[in-house]
Amino acid sequence: MEAATSTKVPKILVIATLSGGYAGADYVGQQHLHYATNTSILPVRCPSMFSEDFYINAFEKGIDGIIVMYSGTDSPYKGGPERTAQIIDNTYKQMQERGLNTRRLRLAAICTVCKKPFLKQVKEMNETLDEIGFVQDELAGKGDG
């Protein structure tokens, strides 16, 4: 199904903190700025709740890129950002083990009014995915190999 895949668009999942990235995404909306429609944002209190396998599972389900927009030093949760960073680090290792390009997963600190960084993140992830292709192909390729 060559034709089908060529019209297929990579899917980007954004995990965004309510106090940071999600509010930032709302702010981008209030300013009526544009970004790619393949980006879906899920609000989370703090991404530290997700363990490594959550991300791996997501890729396996067909999500091509994940941006974790956490609150960084602005986080209202003690220890949350550090733990998030650690989990993401661990995830990178697991991704490598599974032959997944680690560029599919990004961690970025986005504040409530960070409209430019937000757009930049989405744009860069799209560029990356254009370059490295669909996760399914990568997983399939690995499987074949």
Binding site: A23, A25, D26, N38, N57, A58, D74, R83, T112
Partner: protein, 671 residues
């Protein structure tokens, strides 16, 4: 608990509602298609659209559906959850459904408003987001909100007019208030004004009436020279730490110390136009009336008082307070132009409006206006200094931010000052360089007209052709020339020869990086503290129980500051009057069957006494299990990912729900 198990057996019936949002969504997204797509999905009993789901009519539809169709889950796709999630929780709750069986999907800020250029894909994305919402909805569980005793005590940060007004209003509602002011004196920026529009009253007289009410109110405790240095807890139960510096001098020796002090520094009350001693009163009649030592500048040398050598010591007191809510009334600073801008800091004849107001306050009255010993006959006023900056024309500030906002008060304040000048010195000529005159209030336009009648010559510049201020060539009649194109005279090149240039500078927020950092209050593009929504929750911050009062939020005049402060007081009163706050139940919950007491969760938790491994009895056996204290849990979820048994969840934000949502988002949809 029984409710939960009941639901397990119950068939899941979901109502799905897609809001047009009065066009905000439907102008881009084909809402009917979204509704159609969702209607076909398992568990969906009803799928509808409405012009405004949040309206009474829209809400009634949901209530009616819950009652008549037996819905036990509801999702609405509408604006951002921060705006109306609470509204719909209320709706389903009125219809007898647990409010946490509601899920809100944002289709506006994160879809129609960002994909207006691509309606087809936006509709597809809306379907995807709604499907994800549906996936979560299937896994929703009923939850009970956490009710906690609230500390009936508010902290007001800032002793300017907004802080005072707010403290007074809260106190009058029978709530204890602690007011802290960073400097040794109350009054803030308002104290530095002379007469104020639109009443022409003396600012300090109005202010002192209010200060008197505040200081005499039994519910208010006042700390000057005090700052908030520690912060913790949550709405209704904040634990803050206050650090107060001592006044240094007291009672009987105060006057003698004041007299004996010789060390001088520029007086910030007069914006550096004069000097003051390091033991000082901010101004005549200030409150508290006792002088204070300026510890930052005091050189520590002994003073000779009544023949005794006295050294003053700053004994810093730190203490904890429990408060239920916090009012941010941290105020503003006048914009200070960079050196050389409009000749500021280079030509002695260039001053800012606040400086000039101070000058008029402290100068000795005479029949002639003088500046630097020279008589002043001609004055230029330049508007929008530090405001309404445009990229490419103005440079950003040192922090990289462009002051692109209007400072709201400068037009009327400048014209008010000019009118007073002209009345006192009828021989003065005034040239007013403006872009737009923004005397917007009911009684403000009168100041503009009065200025015209006072023979003020208005000259209009274009924002990209700012007037230039330069020293006049030797031999000119005046020391300074202001040159520019006048777009009231077809862009004619004009020049005004003047003795004094007054810059109507804008307002920038008083920077409070430490507080912002501590409390995690968002700051807007313009550096002002950011409210949740300008109309829905105009004085509230996203931090529950932390509200904004006055110019910390945006430029405002005194009237608007006081209104905002009173509004903040109303929110605090509504919050604390009942003595109880209701918290969202989004806290960790341990599945006792899965937990085997490894304690991994406790290791990663940074909240004291939020989760602990305790010995409990299950089926007559004593076992080690993790136990959550909901009031102390922040709901961050550190413990969730740490648990090797996946025994912990954050209620309402369960990993399984996220996994279901991710699955839905990964599906291809047709639209």
């Amino acid at each position: 608990m029984t409710e939960t198990s009941d639901l397990k057996n119950e068939e899941i019936k979901i109502g799905v509602y897609t809001c047009y949002c009065g066009g905000n969504i439907s102008d881009v997204v084909k809402c009917e298609k979204v509704a159609d797509a969702l209607r076909e999905m398992p568990n969906v009993v009803v799928s509808r659209t409405n012009m405004a789901m949040c309206s009474d009519v829209g809400q009634s539809i949901i209530e009616e559906d819950i009652k008549s169709k037996g819905l036990n889950r509801v999702i609405v796709g509408a604006c951002a959850p921060s705006l109306h999630e609470q509204t719909f929780r209320g709706t389903v709750s009125r219809a007898g459904l647990n409010p946490y069986l509601y899920h809100h999907v944002g289709l506006r800020e994160q879809n129609s408003w960002v994909h207006g250029n691509n309606p087809g894909e936006a509709t597809k994305k809306a379907i995807r987001l709604m499907l994800a919402g549906l996936a979560k909805a299937r896994l929703l569980k009923p939850l009970d909100a956490i009710k906690l005793e609230a500390e009936v005590h508010a902290l007001v940060i800032g002793g300017g007019v907004a802080g005072l007004r707010s403290a007074y209003d809260i106190a009058r509602r029978g709530i204890r208030v602690t007011l802290i002011e960073k400097t040794p004196f109350l009054g803030g920026r308002m104290a530095q004004l002379e007469t104020v529009f639109p009443t022409n009253n003396q600012a300090r007289e109005d202010l002192h009436d209010l200060i008197e009410k505040v200081t005499q109110h039994p519910n208010i405790t006042l700390y000057t020279s005090a700052e908030m240095v520690g912060y913790g807890g949550y709405i209704g139960n904040y634990e803050v730490q206050i650090r107060q510096q001592s006044r240094g001098v007291s009672g009987d020796i105060a006057e003698a110390a004041l007299a004996a002090c010789t060390q001088e520094i520029p007086d910030e009350f007069n914006y550096g136009l004069t000097k003051r001693k390091v033991i000082y009163r901010a101004y005549e009649g200030c409150y508290p009336s006792d002088p204070a030592v300026d510890w930052e500048h005091y050189d520590g040398k002994p003073l000779d008082i009544d023949g005794k050598e006295v050294v003053f010591e700053n004994t810093i007191k730190t203490f904890d307070l429990k408060v239920g809510a916090i009012v941010m009334a941290t105020g503003f600073n006048p914009y200070e132009p960079p050196k050389g801008d409009y000749g500021y800091g280079e030509l002695p004849e260039v001053v800012t409006l606040p400086q000039f107001i101070r000058y008029m306050g402290f100068r000795e009255s005479s029949d002639e206006l003088t500046w630097n010993g020279r008589p002043v006959r001609d004055i230029a006023v330049i508007h929008c200094v530090g405001s309404r900056h445009v990229a490419g024309v103005h440079d950003p500030q040192p922090d990289g931010i462009l002051n692109n906002y209007c400072s709201r008060v400068c037009c009327t304040a400048a014209l008010h000052q000019v009118n007073e000048l002209r009345e006192e010195f009828p021989q003065l000529n005034v040239y007013d360089f403006y872009n737009d005159i923004r005397t917007y209030g009911l009684e403000h336009e009168a100041y503009y007209k009065e200025a015209s009648q006072n023979m003020v010559r208005f000259l209009r510049f274009h924002v990209d052709e700012r007037p230039e201020v330069a020293a006049a060539p030797a031999g000119d009649t005046h020391p300074v020339l202001v040159k520019g194109k006048d777009y009231l005279t077809n862009g004619l090149e004009i020049e005004a020869a003047v003795d004094l240039v007054i810059l109507a500078v804008g307002i920038i927020p008083n920077p409070v990086p430490e507080l912002v950092d501590l409390m995690k209050i968002p700051v807007g593009d313009d550096r002002f503290l950011l409210e949740v929504h300008p109309k829905l929750r105009p004085v509230e911050t996203p931090v529950p129980g932390v509200v904004l009062a006055g110019t910390a939020q945006s430029p405002m005049n005194i009237q608007e500051s006081c209104n905002a402060a009173s509004a903040a007081a109303a929110k605090v009163s509504a919050l604390l009057a009942k003595g109880q706050v209701i918290l969202e139940p989004f806290v960790a919950k341990v599945d006792l069957e899965k937990c085997d007491g490894t304690g991994k969760c406790v290791e990663v938790c940074e909240y004291e006494d939020a989760i602990a491994v305790k010995t409990i009895t299950i089926d007559g056996k004593e076992v080690q299990r993790a136990v959550v204290t909901p009031a102390n849990c922040s709901g961050c979820g550190n413990c969730v990912s740490a648990c090797p048994n996946k025994a912990v969840e954050v209620q309402g934000w369960e990993v399984a729900q996220f996994e279901a949502m991710v699955e839905a988002l990964a599906m291809e949809v047709e639209a």
